[in-house]
Amino acid sequence: MSQVNSEQFDLAHLAKLARIDFSQEELDTLRPQLLAILEYVARIGEVATPDVEPMSHVFKLENVVRSDEVTPGLSPEDALSGAPEQRAGRFAVPRILGEEE
């Protein structure tokens, strides 16, 4: 298993993917912590050999479907009850595109 090369570890890019606007100070604290964690978890490479089947779930699960019938659900009022902003019975969101997009 490949060790994480600290030069290649692009924390700013990961932060962007994770949608967290870290401060520079936080990034500086996080970086050594994350590298230490990744170095530690890389130990699994010692035993995770190609012949072992990965296990994604504890028990065999089939896709679960229900019959296509209308059942009671949340009312629109309930569904919107926690919304930071709503307008005309809908979730109101900030604009999607920025200036340069």
Binding site: M1, R19, D21, F22, Q33, A42, F59, P84, P94
Partner: protein, 504 residues
């Protein structure tokens, strides 16, 4: 009956007293609410106490009885709910700023089941943010204190629920266990905590952390109460796609077992070396002698890959968390922070998550994002899933020779508040005995087995049974509990020093 007696009574006793009309549910809950007022300023187990709702629920139970209706098995029993479980109209924060003012518009299935059993929900308990942590110090609303020693952690992530039961603020409590979050705090506070077999308790209304591992479980001050609560919350739920079929097993009957002669215990050879405190091992060794004296068979077993449980877990759980927590996007519920009036959706989302999540949650989201990202998925996430297979095989092999596998629940007793907060890897070490069990999806219990000779704090033993054989935990634990209580002259929890008052 005195208030003190009501506070220390078992759930079974309270349900019996309320059902027979010897005590009213209102009296029971009033005694508990008064006690919460007295001590929770010091313990800080609760994030929200619903005095009004609890009294209303209790009076409702009493009037049902008066009108001759049959009462449920938890009639009038005060229950505390970990704040990761949705309760309609009550604040549900998951210990996070991002959900600070969220009031769910629906009840979790466990809440409905508790209400149907005539339990009285007294409030929501503190936890590590989104159940990520082993000390309850990652709560955005401040830590919970261990009732045995207020300068120490109660364990986590369900530390509030454990502390509420250990301090007699609630008779039983609901927690959730992803990597040990019920078992470890139970061990550190001297009570019983159970993680049922994965999938056997509905997760509808449980805010998701790591979906292939999350499981709701009971806290109680004795084995029978844990069985009682476990029986109420278990069962198939069409609203949870991963929920297992109903079990026909009678957990309460199992908890009445008094014979250990037919039980074969396997002691995990790998869970006694590095990291385990000598005082913890001393008590664990003593209990093995007790098991033998009760006629049980005790032998060593090996889980060769157990030590890889911690690194595998800290890849799998963060990966699933990074995906699950993507729902906190500042659009439909929870906090919204706008960096400027013209900010785009993405900018609002990033600013909200920066402000709303605490450090451990952010660390895990970034680790998970990394492990699932292009170029690293095969090297990290897929490898961790292979380790999961190896650990599950280890348990499978071990169960060919024994019925129940035992080890200490936690390698140490409760540590000091603040001692590990800035060292994530030291904190992760608290779960080394519980994580492999979670990865294999097995049922497990932490049972109090004594106090440390070194610091006088409680120590727990973890019992693990094969999948869907949760009843074995109870039939094995009950005779051990009875024998230990005979030695101690009562339940371990009665040895807890009084909590010096701290008003809310």
């Amino acid at each position: 009956m005195s208030n003190q007696q009501l506070l220390t009574a078992s759930a079974a006793e309270i349900a019996d007293l309320v059902t027979t009309g010897k005590v009213t549910a209102a009296e029971v809950v009033t005694a508990h609410l008064a006690h919460i007022d007295q001590v929770d300023g010091a313990v800080r187990a609760f994030l929200d106490v619903d005095a009004e709702g609890a009294l209303r629920a209790a009076r409702n139970v009493d009037s049902k009885r008066e009108s001759g209706e049959k009462l449920g098995s938890l009639a009038g029993v005060p229950v505390a709910l970990k704040d990761v479980v949705a309760q309609k109209g009550r604040p549900t924060t998951c210990g996070s700023r991002i959900l600070e003012n969220w009031h769910p518009p629906y009840d979790a299935t466990v809440v409905t089941k508790l209400q149907d059993a005539d339990a009285v929900i007294v409030g929501k308990t503190n936890m590590d943010e989104f159940a990520m942590g082993s000390s309850t110090e990652n709560s955005a609303f401040g830590p919970t204190h261990n009732p045995w020693d207020l300068t120490r952690v109660p364990g986590g992530s369900s530390g509030g629920s454990a502390a509420a039961v250990a301090s007699n603020e609630a008779t039983v409590a609901i927690g959730s266990d992803t990597g040990g979050s019920v078992r470890q705090p139970a061990a550190l506070t001297g009570i019983v905590g159970v993680k049922p077999t994965y999938g056997t308790v509905s997760r509808y209304g449980l805010v998701a952390f790591a979906s292939s591992l999350d499981q709701i479980g009971p806290f109680a001050r004795n084995v029978k109460d844990a069985a009682l609560l476990h029986s109420v919350i278990a069962g198939h739920d069409p609203r949870d796609g991963t929920s297992a079929p109903d079990s026909k097993k009678d957990l309460i009957a199992a908890a009445n077992n008094s014979d250990l002669r037919s039980v074969r215990f396997g002691v995990v050879r790998e869970m006694r070396g590095e990291g385990f405190a000598p005082a913890v091992l001393d008590e664990f060794d003593r209990v093995q002698e007790l098991l033998k004296s009760l006629g049980a068979d005790v032998q060593d077993i090996s889980l060769p890959h157990a030590s890889y449980g911690t690194p595998a877990y800290y890849l799998i759980a963060p990966s699933e968390a990074s995906s699950n927590l993507a729902r906190f996007d500042a659009m439909r519920y929870g906090l919204r922070v706008s960096p400027n009036p013209d900010a785009t959706v993405e900018e609002v989302m990033s600013a909200t998550r920066e402000a709303g999540f605490g450090s451990e949650v952010k660390r895990r989201i970034v680790i998970g994002t990394f492990a699932l990202s292009t170029g690293y998925y095969d090297a990290f996430y897929a490898q961790a899933q292979k380790v999961r297979t190896l650990i599950a095989r280890d348990y499978h092999d071990a169960f060919s020779a024994v019925d129940v596998i035992i080890s200490p629940t936690s390698p140490t007793t409760a540590f000091k508040l603040g001692e590990r907060v800035n060292d994530p890897l030291a904190m992760y070490a608290a779960d080394l005995a519980t994580l492999p069990v979670s990865l294999a999806g097995l049922p497990a219990m932490s049972l109090p087995i004594g106090l440390s000779q070194e610091d006088g704090l409680p120590i727990g033993m973890q019992l693990v049974a094969p999948a869907f054989k949760d009843e074995l935990l109870y039939s094995a634990a009950a005779p051990v509990e009875a024998a230990l209580e005979k030695q101690w002259g009562g339940p371990l929890i009665t040895k807890r020093p009084p909590i010096l008052s701290g008003s809310r």
